[in-house]
């Protein structure tokens, strides 16, 4: 790695850290550094994650973002991105999220994978993923942006850990045999009102394809997906804005329910 890149990554990681410190979104990185590349953005992400690990956090898994055609078109990209999941991002099913922990949260419903075997790129395919999967779980991902008003371009969100916030997993592990992941139906409710419906295929046609993409992408960084890691495979619903007092619940066919409530304090 060139020192110039490293300095840039450190500077931009500092910039994003300000948002977490002050609780206020910051200026987009792409305004500070219009030439910021995807590779540099992932370096920024790695600097931030490295700092958190140093401060005691543990990596629990990865999340895949920008898996829907709608999101890809919105950001003008043709592939997903990924971020790191840490142990301090876990919210228990049915639990509460204080608005002190989040800036401008949105909620999405997803299918989470837990692997029983390591997956190493390149050329990992969806069937490899199925065979390496221990079980799947219903999940709510609370996405959040350290960039003010979600004014993100692709490098902004990648640098910002793929706009990760918190995540909630259901408790009942489901084996994937006899379930067609692409056809798993999902309904997302906010305060009892239906917000959106979706299906596994909303994530790149099949959530297992998303996980395969991640394994192959990580190979570029010399990283593999490890047994026991949680992988949030991509949104099956639109991201819905959350306010204090809101309760979200997702119901997924075959997988069960997962819910979370937002509170002021």
């Amino acid at each position: 790695m060139k020192p110039a890149t490293s300095n840039l990554a450190t500077k931009l990681a500092d910039h994003l850290a300000k948002a977490e410190k002050t609780g206020k979104g910051v200026q987009p990185l792409t305004e500070l550094e219009p030439e910021l590349t995807i590779e540099q953005a992932y370096q920024v992400q790695l600097v931030t994650i490295g700092r958190k690990i140093k401060a005691g956090a543990r990596v629990t898994g990865k999340k895949i973002g920008l898996t829907s055609l709608a999101m890809q078109q919105l950001l003008g990209v043709d592939q997903p991105d990924y971020g790191h999941l840490l142990d301090d991002m876990v919210v228990k099913n049915g639990g509460q999220v204080s608005f002190k922990r989040v800036l401008q949260p949105k909620v999405e419903a997803e299918i989470a994978f837990v692997l029983k075997k390591e997956l190493t790129g390149p050329r990992v395919n969806a069937m490899d993923v199925l065979l390496a999967t221990d079980y799947i779980l219903p999940a709510l991902e609370i996405v959040d942006s350290r960039v003010s008003n979600w004014q993100i371009k692709l490098p902004d969100t990648i640098a910002d850990n793929a706009s990760s916030g918190l995540y909630v997993l259901g408790e009942k592990p489901v084996k994937i045999d006899s379930v067609d992941l692409a056809q798993i139906g999902m309904v997302l409710y906010k305060n009892g009102e239906m917000m959106d419906t979706g299906v596994g295929a909303a994530a790149l046609g099949n959530p297992a394809v998303c996980v395969a993409w991640l394994a192959n992408k990580l190979y570029e960084f010399g990283i593999s997906l490890k047994a026991g890691e949680v992988i949030l495979s991509g949104a099956l619903s639109a991201a819905v804005d959350a306010e204090p007092g809101d309760r979200f619940e997702a119901r997924l066919a075959h997988l069960g329910n997962v819910s979370v409530r937002f509170v002021h304090e």
């Binding site: 056809q183 798993i184 999902m186 979706g198």
Partner: protein, 263 residues
């Protein structure tokens, strides 16, 4: 104020001619801006009678405007219904010619077959599930007879809720073990994923659509009948079709259904 005399039969004939000649026509509320929904149904009744007189058989009722998005767009709080006739059925996997249609769109639906009649008012989702013999994976081809698919609520009611063609899957499925609101549906055209959703996209639960139908019919002293195939409304948005489209829908645990649109 003098109420303009309306000849429901002649309006029904105007719409039936458009269907037969495969030409789009001006919506009727342009000439009759104060046409009510009830009058729309009176026109539909004439249309249905005319088809029955020609010897066609009713397969079952269909529900339309069952998604939140569509109801919001049309500013209504109740869906609409129409009727599917035998000549509208296309066999699973068969070809359908674009020449028979005007500007068809397709949507994925779950059809219900009841084992006993349901007559409103007061029919609930639970009543429907208890009376459901089978569900069937379905593709509905809607084809508004109106220019550019543009209409108001009375227009679409009069036009038999845009009914045009329907394709049923090969399997009759007992729904006992299936959460129908969580059934994932995907629509592929020429292999490409074009639309998706889960059963709850239909009024929160497809059985609620049948319940509302039974309650709407009940107001007229009619009922949802055992043995009819009831289309509950689109799980996916309706997608405009083009010649040479190969259309496939997959519904989790229920099955697949497809057809090919030719020139």
């Amino acid at each position: 104020m003098e109420v303009k005399e309306r000849n429901y039969l002649s309006i029904a004939n105007y719409l039936e001619r458009a269907e037969q000649e495969k030409v789009e026509v001006k919506r009727i509320t342009l000439e009759h801006p104060d046409l009510s929904i009830e009058e729309g149904y009176k026109i539909q009744e004439e249309l249905v009678k005319s088809k029955l007189d020609k010897g066609y058989r009713i397969i079952g009722p269909k529900m339309g405007l069952t998604s939140q998005a569509k109801m919001k767009q049309m500013n209504v709080d109740e869906p609409v219904y129409g009727y599917i006739f035998d000549y509208m059925v296309v066999e699973n996997g068969d070809k359908l010619s674009l020449r028979e249609l005007i500007h068809p769109k397709v949507e994925v639906e779950i059809a219900f077959v009841l084992n006993r009649d349901l007559k409103g008012p007061g029919i609930t989702e639970k009543d429907v599930l208890a009376a459901t013999e089978y569900v069937v994976p379905s593709l509905e081809i809607i084809d508004s007879r109106y220019e550019n698919f543009q209409f108001t609520l009375p227009d679409v009611v009069a036009d038999n809720a845009s009914s045009s063609r329907v394709v049923f899957g090969n399997r009759l499925v007992k729904p006992d073990q299936i959460d129908l609101d969580l059934v994932g549906a995907t629509l592929f055209i020429n292999g490409e994923l074009k639309a998706l959703g889960a059963g709850a996209a239909v009024l929160g639960h497809p059985a609620r659509s049948v319940a509302m139908l039974a309650n709407m019919l009940g107001r007229k002293g009619e009922k949802a009948k055992a043995g009819q195939i009831i289309l509950t409304g689109g799980i996916t948005e309706a997608i405009l079709l083009n010649a040479e489209d190969c259309v496939t829908a997959k519904l989790d645990q229920i099955g697949e259904v497809s057809f090919i649109l030719t020139e």
